[in-house]
Symmetry: C2
Subunit: 476 residues, 2 copies
Amino acid sequence: MAKETQFVEQIANIDENFPQWYTDVVLKTKLVDYGPVKGTMVIRPYGYAVWENIQKEMNARFHKRGVENAYFPLLIPMSYFTKEAEHVEGFAPEVAVVTHAGGEELAEPLAIRPTSETIIGTMMSKWVQSYRDLPLKINQWCNVMRWEKTTRPFLRTSEFLWQEGHTAHASEEEAKDETMAMLEIYKEFAENCLAIPVLTGRKTEKERFAGAVATYTMEAMMHDGKSLQAGTSHYLGQNFSTAFDIKYLGNEGVLQTAYTTSWGVSTRLIGAIIMTHGDERGLVFPPVVAPIQCVIVPIAARKPGVVEACEALKTQLENAGIRVTLDNSDNSPGWKFNEWEMKGVPVRIELGPRDIEAGKMLCARRDTLEKVEMPLESAVDGVKALLDSVQKGLLEKARKHRDERIVYADDIAGILAGVEAGNFVKAGWCGCRECEDKVKEETGATSRVFAEGESAETCAICGKKAEHVIVFARAY
Amino acid sequence: MAKETQFVEQIANIDENFPQWYTDVVLKTKLVDYGPVKGTMVIRPYGYAVWENIQKEMNARFHKRGVENAYFPLLIPMSYFTKEAEHVEGFAPEVAVVTHAGGEELAEPLAIRPTSETIIGTMMSKWVQSYRDLPLKINQWCNVMRWEKTTRPFLRTSEFLWQEGHTAHASEEEAKDETMAMLEIYKEFAENCLAIPVLTGRKTEKERFAGAVATYTMEAMMHDGKSLQAGTSHYLGQNFSTAFDIKYLGNEGVLQTAYTTSWGVSTRLIGAIIMTHGDERGLVFPPVVAPIQCVIVPIAARKPGVVEACEALKTQLENAGIRVTLDNSDNSPGWKFNEWEMKGVPVRIELGPRDIEAGKMLCARRDTLEKVEMPLESAVDGVKALLDSVQKGLLEKARKHRDERIVYADDIAGILAGVEAGNFVKAGWCGCRECEDKVKEETGATSRVFAEGESAETCAICGKKAEHVIVFARAY
């Protein structure tokens, strides 16, 4: 094997040094690279393919709900942000500002969008005239920019890709329903496409989106027990419609103010996939969004008929809509196994002269590393069933991992011990900001989401009467 | 018809005032709207759907050629532009610059990408090490910004959406082949998907992309006889690979410099569709990229069974993959006909009680306005055949329009007369910049593309020996 000049690169141990494992894995599998400007990332083809699969699945769901895609400008006049007081306070500190263009200084500085409520609100006020124009449901896939001090690929970067949905409605009730319906879509998507179980519910006032009446979140538990906010849906009430004058003539001829919502998920989801399913060998992709679902590795490739059989199998799987690749490189099978395991391909097929003779193939699933023999003649059905099983298996495994790590605490020491041990900690809370801040200071955990439907006697922080149960966790 | 409160809006006469017709049509059909910052546009759902269809068709073609999608950062350090002398000269004057971010002034100003050769070149130099890493073929769909003084929706806006492909190769020959292959793909796409015939070939040095060795273009003739540069493919030689150090170890162990290409099409294509096929009634969409391919208008909708039959037909067409809508609004059929004609839907189906009884439907094609009766039971095949016929008919019509307007001139007065009359004018050219500039000054026409394979005796401008035949035209 003289040509085997490279070796599968080592990655840090996932349990000993999870942050280093993450960095190793995202770089070495070529998902992403660092951009030249601090805090920026280049999404490489293997990573971008995941994003395209996410887009496809999301678009189908949006379409069903009557949401249409559009595109709004990148640059927003700074003065727009000041129209909604809380919004400007929240976003102004992280905005990137264009001051010069076309060789001249601009009369008004322009912000690169950190989110588009202000510019979409401006356009909606023009488009919404009558109750017949409502509901208005628009989504855009775009880049946004938030200048962050500490950055990590996919998880927190100054520029990232996302979708932001914006809807306007005639009634409060309808807008609230939309907010919750989108949260539900996100949850179903996270579970069925990404195999990531999520806790959904409302955020505290402190953690709320700047300008929202209420923010709803989905929180996922990563391998290390930390939480990742994987998507949010905001009920904006009349905050933005008042600031941006989104008014309509009702069917009784009276001018009324609309109610709006916004909701988004971003390329963070790719980070969530990596940190939920990855293991000591590297990435593990859920089949629905895997860039490559199945890799064929020829065994004794120089023997007559092997490459031909592999190519025929590839064509067959491809025609059935399976994203398949054939590794015809000069590397040894063992090297290939390691590489494709690191790259997280859900199913690997090994095919050699003896398999071909026996009309069989050997399939290895990435999640459990189990190998099963399957008849070649029903390869399509076999691989499909295996992909399906991996998809379900990953969700179950992640759910088990998460459920075992949800604990209760009734004092701040318990919260600290819980999060130190890599848990989500549920605890009673009086509802005051001081207690919420104290948890952050003393444990490094933040309130992730209300544990709706649960109740506690006393606040774990101050001992007064508890109004809510909160899920506390350290978070990305 | 008490509820028919709106009327189909008037649009300017296409032959009397084409610029006003264009503005009326793009705004009134809700393809686009003006953004708040001068020179920006909002692409509304009806316009964005065209872009999504373009993306889908293009992606399939790129995939076949082994091009992979990725995403590179928006912001590029200003210093990167200076690495390729011609490039910075060409783009610096139109760049938008970020000077502040996160509440602080930046140490180095950052450009919003006007194009990404510099940043992609930087990354390629990191990724390309050995001849085994070549060819490297990457594409990105993104927003870019070029600060323009005079803007028009889709045609010239400070921000626009595009795809930019970038490839690196081991040899000059391979890079040149790639440049020409992409030009050929663009041409095939323009003709088969957009029904726009194009002239393809090389640009003069004056019109070349800043930093390229050679720029190849496809030029389309609009309704008014002006040309629109609809896509370009650049052979960059070693200009960028030298500036950005894209070097590889050849299979004989010698370090060599790669050869690169880049190529792109943008949301301008939507403008090209509008100005190629539109008529006095408004838009005419080629079916392949039409947001809606077929609209069903119920006749005597209150009669029993009509709405049900229309809905059944809609479902049937939808299941066959046809993009269909049913207009159930309270407006009169006549109003609906006008509106959907203005919106350019290729096929309209009228379905009323008598049709249903007779098992027929009436289909009107948007391009010729002809109506044909078709049996309801073979609706899917009938509509598909009609869409196919519209697609082909539009290309033929556009080709005829264009071919009738290609004329020859042998002096500058002839060029002026030709372009004044709305023609592409072919003329001999000595090859010197002075003559090219003179045509621009005296006729308003620019050199669009070399008429490859054609020859002339003398230069139409100076009378010296002609080296080339050039297609001159006024252009968007």
